[in-house]
Symmetry: C2
Amino acid sequence: MAFDTASLKFNSNGLIPAIAQDANSGEVLMMAWMNADSISKTLESGQVTYWSRSRQEYWVKGATSGNTQTLVDLRIDCDRDCLLIEVKQEGPACHTGRRTCFFTAVRNGNEVEIVTVAEDSEAP
Amino acid sequence: MAFDTASLKFNSNGLIPAIAQDANSGEVLMMAWMNADSISKTLESGQVTYWSRSRQEYWVKGATSGNTQTLVDLRIDCDRDCLLIEVKQEGPACHTGRRTCFFTAVRNGNEVEIVTVAEDSEAP
């Protein structure tokens, strides 16, 4: 069946959550939002392109930082209201310099940082 | 630092997206929503508890199907507006009987089913 973005269920702002997973390590890297056009741009360019809710503009991941996400596989869930994006991640995915945005765990009622900033991503 | 659900960023409906990942295989299983109380219930009971937007009630995953999710680790992203839940998944996570809800891939413009229904989850 041909894929049509119109078959997806977007929220009232025309957005759908997109989970980025490292295709190699399986690590979940981040969650951001896409609209129909950013899905099309991602599929056409092979560069994962979100919609920035804060800046209200397309956000080609890594366009300024160099920490790009190259599309490996795009998956749709059973309800058609969430995407899973398998990516080849260049550098850290998180703006804090950590490889994943999910670097804080809740253990025994406390927050624990479980992923440190990569040495090679430190500012000079 | 002590964890407080009030420190999270919920949407206008008081909900936060929660991504469930199989702690063993690394497979992303599903995405659903939690409110502050369902996060507390999950941490207290060890049984992953979502908020069902369609039924407007707490949804202890697997309470009726037996396909429970036991909490292994709960993680928060850098923006504090998304959760990653590492789980021990009993049986298939998807209501279709597939181990993951993300069983459809978009390849060369077409939708392709990449995960089949597990034989042992077929109705008798």
